[in-house]
Symmetry: C2
Subunit: 188 residues, 2 copies
Amino acid sequence: MTQVKPMRADARRNYERLLKVAAEAFAEHGEGASLDDIAKRAGVGSGTLYRHFPTRQALLEAAYVDRIEALGERADEIAKELPPGEALAEWLYELCVGTIQVRGMKALLGSAVTDGSRAALTACGTSMKGAAQRLVEAAQREGTLRQDIEPIEVLRLAHGVATASELANGQGKQIRRYLSLLTEGLRP
Amino acid sequence: MTQVKPMRADARRNYERLLKVAAEAFAEHGEGASLDDIAKRAGVGSGTLYRHFPTRQALLEAAYVDRIEALGERADEIAKELPPGEALAEWLYELCVGTIQVRGMKALLGSAVTDGSRAALTACGTSMKGAAQRLVEAAQREGTLRQDIEPIEVLRLAHGVATASELANGQGKQIRRYLSLLTEGLRP
DNA sequence: GAGATAAGCGGGGACTGTCTCCGTTTAACC
DNA sequence: GGTTAAACGGAGACAGTCCCCGCTTATCTC
């Protein structure tokens, strides 16, 4: 599963440089950051960039996997500290914060929960879905979450909440409010 | 308020052609459709397009104002046929359908409810906000909608629901489901 | 260490899209 | 019909994506 042939030293070096620069660039300019510019800033030719990461999507994913996996692990930490219902809410909050604050992660998280996505987001997608599943099932067992809902639906709705919060100039407060509106519903 | 000087005949002709072609192009290729291509298809130079519509946003808005205003009027029709709570739900449903199906309208509706938007969406924005306000207040008076919520928040959340539905390959069924999850909340 | 060799590099260039500038055309008014 | 200002339109500067292929170099072998 892991790299059968070890990368050549220069290849590995360039790969890492690109990743680091890309994360900065995406954070700064959003997912539309210029790829040729990233290559330049990393001190490599654009050919090198495109060889390592055939698509923007691939680079985006590689640049943020660790952050996303951290989010997956965070789910378990939170689960230890809070009762299931609250844990889910808190995790969704942190997920939304990440979605909005780290420009460029939105597209990535979005396609991770897209139905029929082109199997692109394997790593990120499974990590997110796993975390969501654990929290959702726990909350359902506890009885603080409706039974008829799938983990992936929760992720999609959270993405929707992030979008809505963004429209409202999303500071943490907005996210909290919209998340709680979702949890409690719009009825009185 | 309205055009002080009437447009020259050729200008008016080109303006209309552009609008018609633009609506088709955006519907077909999404909001990213090539502007030069729209100009070409309308049989005018790109200079003409940019003179009439300085930004993509401006063209997008002009191409869809009538559709959006129809949505505004639809609110009142629905209000006559259904009790306030159901009317709001039905209107939000139609709003989401429009958001998703007519590619290119999403960006427009999004920026119409963005906090601190650059005063771009005056026409569309006020139309939407007006319709939302009428339905929201009626539902609140009836007691089927929480009191502590603003019309614009409902619009933003609806946009979020549309986004979530889109991720789920949004057919009408998904939209209905996610909307009702929002209305009723995620609690059991 | 020297040589062989394939993995990896990188930048030139084709292509697509945006947007402006300015010489030319033409509708509108007399 | 002649004048004039409004409107046209396309050439071209610029920015981004992405591929191709001759050159460089890390690694392996002796």
